[in-house]
Structure formats: C-alpha cells, structure tokens
C-alpha cells in the first residue's frame, strides 16, 4: 500500500516517545536568549483579513518592538480538542511563553494544557469560561462598540431603516447585533433594524465569502436601508462594496476599514468602523510576560480602555457634529455605567 503507509508501518514500531519530549530543555521562560511567543490560530488561519490577521499583527509588533521570536500554528479542518491539546502542548514544550489561543474553541484545550505547564502563560481570546492562575482571558465588549455604531447609524440614516449583517450566527456575532440594535433604538425608537446572518455553523463561509455579504447588503438596500453595519470578517467587504456602490453608508468592523487598501475605492462611503483591538491584546500579554508580570484572569477590553471603539478617519464622519455629539454622549454614559448594553439580542 504505497510509500506513505509503508513508512507508517515502519515508524509505528518506534513508539513510546512523545512529541512533547523534544525541546523540553528550554521550557522555562527564564532561559537565556530571546523570549519566544506563539499564537495558535482559529479556523481560517492567517490571511483572513480579520480576527486571525489582527492576532498576527500583535505578534508582529511584539517581534519588532520587543525582540520576541514568534511562532504560529494553524488548525486543520475538522479537528477535535485532542488535536488542539497536541498543538498547544508542542508550542509550550518548545519554550514559547506566552502561548495564545485565538478564539473560544481553544478554551477546553487550554484548560488542560495550562495545568501541565504552570510556568507558561496562556492567552485565551474571547472566552472566560475556563480560568486558571496562568490563563489570561482576553475578552472584548464588542456590544459597546456596536452600540456606538447603532447611535451613529440612527443619526446618519434618512430613511429610518438600517441594516445589520452578521457573518455566522454564533453567540459572538450576536453580541454585535445586540449592541447595534440597542444603540439604534435608544437613539431613534421608530427606526427599523433589518438583521440578517449569512451562514450558520459549522458553515463558516459567512466570514470568508464577500459575495454572500454583497447579496445580503443588496437585499437590505432594496428594503430601504441606507446604513449597513456588517460584522462578517472578509464577507463584510462585499457588503461595503454593495452599500458604497448604491451611494449609502457602510460601517466596517474589527479594524479601521476606511484605511484598508483593498477597500480604497469605497472608503468615502465607509462612515466609521467598530474597532476591536485584538492585536493590542496579543501584544499586551506578550509584553506582560517579558516584563515579568504576566497577565492573568479576565483582561477586559471595553470602551473605557479603548479596547473597542469607533474609528473617525473618514472626514465626512467628523463633519457630522450632531452625530459625533450623540456618539460621544453615549460613550460617556456607557463608560460611566449609565447605559448597560445587552450582550444577546
């Protein structure tokens, strides 16, 4: 049966050794030489122009500014927790500290691996359900940033109808929807919010296929929406394209999409973007380990710390003084605790 399986039969006799045995000599972070940091990506991996890329940007910044040696690992399709455990273990054994799992699907694996490597700090993005003395839970108040987007959308809308497009119908994206809807309704109780999700798990096309975002946006435009907020990763680019082509307002997500080269043709119609500082959170946890004061427990990035927020790089946006005033007021009220934003619709 072929070369590969013959080789497998050969190597199967060499068992009893675990892949974790390699490189265990340098497992402690206090070892001499440069600090090593690793990130394990979520589905999609690097190049998704969204979540994973933001995490990579944080690692890159740490490499440039802190002299850290970075490592990356991507998941395989259809893997189980056991595969994630194996990946995180090999990264930790190779002496990486911190090891950061991008996305909530790493939670069960990090809980297991963190116990085996008490001296290594583990960053876990978007999850606080699994905690430990050496786990830093990096979480974001996406709903707060989305609330501000809702305020801006309600103010900018002339038709009184705005649209929300979610990439994949998962709890994380529902936080965006909940905040946005609440922001719109609090600003203009008569406004109508059209909501649409592109795909349902385990079909994650809704985060990656721009044509889906485009079709959804066109549908909402037909129904009279004149501001559309898409929280859909790469698929959101399609929504921005459709909205800009129709001459309406688009609201971007995750990073300041007004500045994205790929969307330069449509940037005049990108009103603002809800930013989520994933790269900053990755950088911070690496820096904390380097400084000898590793982060632990829940590290929350909200409006108060500018972990989430609204981008203001579009000059047309900054000219809308009435809108800016409303957004600033809402921001202050959220930070002061006068407004509590819901996390589920």
């Amino acid at each position: 049966m072929g070369i590969a399986s013959a080789a497998l039969a050969l190597s199967a006799t060499a068992c009893g050794k675990s892949s974790n045995d390699t490189g265990s000599s340098s497992s402690s972070s206090s070892a001499s030489g440069a600090l090593k940091a690793a990130i394990a990506y979520d589905i999609g991996g690097r190049g998704d122009q969204s979540f994973n890329d933001a995490a990579y940007a944080g690692l890159k910044k740490a490499e440039d500014e802190l002299g850290v040696k970075g490592a990356e690992a991507e998941p395989s399709q259809g893997e189980s927790d056991a595969d994630k455990v194996a990946r995180l273990t090999s990264l930790a054994r190779a002496g990486n500290n911190p090891v950061i799992g991008v996305g909530f699907s790493y939670a069960p694996a990090i809980e297991k691996v963190a116990k085996s490597f008490p001296k290594t700090t583990f960053g876990l993005i978007d999850d606080t359900s699994k905690t430990g003395p050496n786990i830093a839970n990096l979480v974001f108040n996406e709903e707060q940033g989305s609330y501000l987007a809702g305020v801006a959308a309600a103010k900018a809308s002339k038709t009184g109808t705005v649209g929300f497009i979610g990439g994949v119908e998962v709890p994380l994206i529902k936080k965006f929807e909940a905040g946005f809807t609440q922001g719109v309704k609090d600003t203009n109780p008569k406004a109508k919010v059209l909501t649409q999700y592109l795909t349902q798990p385990p079909n994650f096309d809704g985060f990656s296929k721009p044509d889906l975002g485009k079709a959804a946006a066109e549908g909402q435009l037909d129904k009279g929406a004149d501001v559309i907020y898409a929280a859909a990763g790469l698929a959101g680019a399609g929504a921005i394209e459709a909205t800009a082509t129709a001459g309406k307002w688009a609201i971007g997500v995750d990073s300041d999409q007004y500045k994205q080269a790929g969307l330069a043709a449509y940037k005049d119609h990108i009103l603002t973007s809800v930013t989520k500082d994933v790269s900053g959170s990755v950088y911070n946890v690496i820096k904390s380990v380097k400084d000898g004061k590793p982060q632990t427990g829940e590290i929350r990035y909200g409006l108060a710390t500018n972990g989430v927020g609204l981008a203001d790089s579009n000059p047309a946006y900054t000219k809308m003084t009435d809108l800016i005033a409303a957004v600033d007021k809402a921001k202050k009220e959220i930070v002061d605790g006068k407004i509590t934003v819901k996390t589920a619709p």
């Binding site: 070369i3 395989s76 606080t128 359900s129």
Partner: protein, 371 residues
C-alpha cells in the same frame, strides 16, 4: 482456484497502489514547483508519526473515519451514493448528545441509550433519502446533499439557547450540555500519549460484522446482487425497493456511530467546535479501500496518518496543506486508476480465455501443473 484469487488480489491492489504512487509523485512535483524541499516535509511527517501522542491521534481518527467509511461503502455496494454521511453524522451526534445530557442512567445503560439514539437518528435521516428514492424516484445523490444543508440549519436551530442549547457562562460557544460521567466510554490510557477511545474497538468489531454480513449472509448476497444489476436481482426474487431502504438505513445508522468515539470518549457534549467534514473524507476513504473492510481500514489509517502527522508541519515552516493536495489527488487518481486497472483486467481475462480456447483440451492438465 488459487491462481484466480491471486490474480484478483493483484488487480484489486493495483488500483490503490497506482493512485497512491501518482499522488505522491504529483505532491513532490507541487513542492518542487513552489521551491520547497520535497523530501523534508515527508520526512517530518514520518518522524511525527513516531511520537506516541501523534500515534494516539492517528488511531482515534482512524476509528472515526473507519465508521464513516463503512457507512459510505455499504451504499456503494448497492450502487447508492450516500453523500449525506456528513449530515447524518452531525445530526446523530447532536441529538444523541442532547439525550445523553438529559438522562441519567447507570453506566453501560447510559452509553447504550446514547449509541442507540445516534444510530436511530442517523438511520432516520438517511431513510428519508431512501424513501424519496423508492417512492418518488429522487436520486439519493441530490436528496442527501440537500439533507446535509438541512442538517446544518436544523442543528443551528436546535442548539440555540432558547431551544435546547446551553451557552456556558463566559463562553462564546454553544453546547448541548455536559453528558454525566456515567455516559462516558472508558478509553485506554497511553500515559503521555493520551487516550485511545474505547469506541475504537467497537469500530473494529463492526468491520468484522460488516464483512460477515456482506459476504456470508443471504442479505449481503442480495445487497451485492442488487448493486450489480437491479433488474437481474429483481428477476431472481429480490425486492429492490426494500433493499434500497434497508441499505440507506444501515448506512445512516453507521454514519450516526461515527460521532460516538469523540462524543463518548472526549468532548461529552456537542458544541460549535465539534469536528466536521468526516463524512466527506470518508467517501474518499471508502473509494480508496475498494469498499472492503480491510481495504477501508488501511485507507482510513493512511488518511489519519496524513492528517495528523502533518498537523505540525507549519511550525517547521512547511505548508500543511500538502496533505489536502495529496488527498485531493488521491480522489482523482483513484477513479482514473480503477478504470485503467478494470480495463486491463478485462483485457487480460479475454486474452486468457482466448489462450485457453486456442489451447483446447490442454487446459486441464496445464492448470493442474500450475496449481
């Protein structure tokens, strides 16, 4: 007799071997074309497979693929193309996880209930395609693909917190709740390597049952006969419609079992992170294994090896996607090489018959000498 069997065996193995060699050569060419060392990633994969934890991953994944591929192959034996194994697997895992978390029974009984629910769900879901085919003439290829899409929506709806789902505090995941410990299938502890799922042995046992049923029972004969020629089977008294429904039910039931190793051995819940794609990989595995329980076992082992041994290639700086390239080429190469081998076998058979006819009465003595 011996001579014919040997010929059959060689011709049977020639297809997969040809496919594997082709895919291996093409993968090396792809690596060369991208300017990478073509041998190093393969050497790394072989080295990885020497580690105990990777071996455990390979064995466990083999069991999952094996069950799913058995499900596909029982359809193939009947000329039924059940593309819906993926959907049957997911729905069965989800529903059985729900039931498993809802009931609390003593150990073995709890596991039995979960397994039976999984089998029933998978069978029911595949049975829909079977009924559509026998009553309305809908191709099972079309209906099972559509049922896959419906599964995605149905599971997404069922797992919403307002229906049956549970969202653990602080998590962005959705689960079906945790199955109590009495519903966990004990595994074999391999120390640092991890745990081999206990259900792996059930999978192997089912392979034996599969072989026995297909080759040694009246039902298996009817199944193969219907697969060869529906009209001929019908003429000899086989109820083809009943066979189609039965085959779909068994196929779906086996597909439902494919989720059990992980559900009972590791995750103990169905969540958004539950592995997907098993049912599609299984189609290739069944093809490569020529629908034979032993062939499928080797094919599943090979695919599990490719998948798991390559998972850390990217840390070493090589694209692990080469595994997908290899698997993709195997699919095409398998189809092509089987056809080539089939034609060659046919020609060889004809030649032989011709030779035998030409030799006339001398065949008998000839045969006795070689035997």
């Amino acid at each position: 007799m011996m001579k014919i069997d040997k010929d059959k065996l060689i011709i049977g193995a020639a297809g997969p071997v040809l496919a594997l060699v082709t895919s291996f050569v093409l993968t090396v060419l792809v690596l060369l074309a991208t300017g990478l060392d073509p041998i190093e990633p393969i050497r790394l994969m072989i080295e990885n497979a020497g580690y105990s934890d990777v071996q455990v991953l390979i064995v466990n994944y083999t069991a999952i693929l094996y069950l799913a591929a058995l499900a596909v192959s029982i359809g193939f034996r009947m000329n039924l193309f059940n593309i819906g194994v993926e959907g049957q697997y997911r729905l069965a895992a989800m529903v059985s996880a729900l039931v498993g978390a809802a009931v609390d029974l003593p150990g073995p009984l709890h596991i039995l209930v979960i397994v039976l629910v999984a089998v029933a769900t998978g069978a029911l879901w595949a049975g829909i395609a079977g009924i559509l085919k026998t009553t309305r003439g809908v191709s099972e290829v079309v209906s099972t693909i559509m049922l896959n899409a419906i599964t995605t929506s149905l599971v997404a709806w069922l797992i919403l917190p307002k229906n049956f789902g549970v969202q653990p505090a602080g998590s962005n995941d959705l689960t079906t709740g945790q199955i109590p410990e009495s519903g966990w299938f004990p595994g074999i502890d391999m120390g640092e390597g991890g745990q081999i799922y206990g259900f792996t042995f059930v999978a192997l046992a089912l392979g034996v049952v599969y072989w026995f049923v297909i080759n040694r029972t009246r039902f298996g004969f009817d199944l193969r006969a219907t697969g060869e020629s529906e009209s001929a089977a019908q003429a000899s008294g086989v109820d083809a419609k009943k066979m189609i429904i039965t085959a779909m039910l068994i196929s779906g039931g086996l597909a439902g079992l494919a989720g059990m190793p992980i559900l009972l051995g590791e995750s103990h819940t169905y969540s958004l992170a539950f592995p997907v794609g098993v049912g599609f990989t299984a189609i290739t595995v069944a093809l490569l294994g020529r629908n034979h329980p032993v062939g499928i076992l080797f094919a599943a082992l090979l695919f599990a090896f490719l998948e798991k041994a390559s998972s850390s290639l990217d840390i070493a700086g090589y694209p692990k996607e080469i595994t997908q390239i290899m698997q993709g080429i195997i699919v095409i190469a398998v189809v092509v090489s089987y056809e080539l081998v089939r034609r060659y076998g046919l020609r060889r058979q004809q030649q032989k018959v011709g030779e035998e006819l030409a030799a006339g009465g001398a065949i008998k003595t000839d045969k006795e000498v070689t035997a």
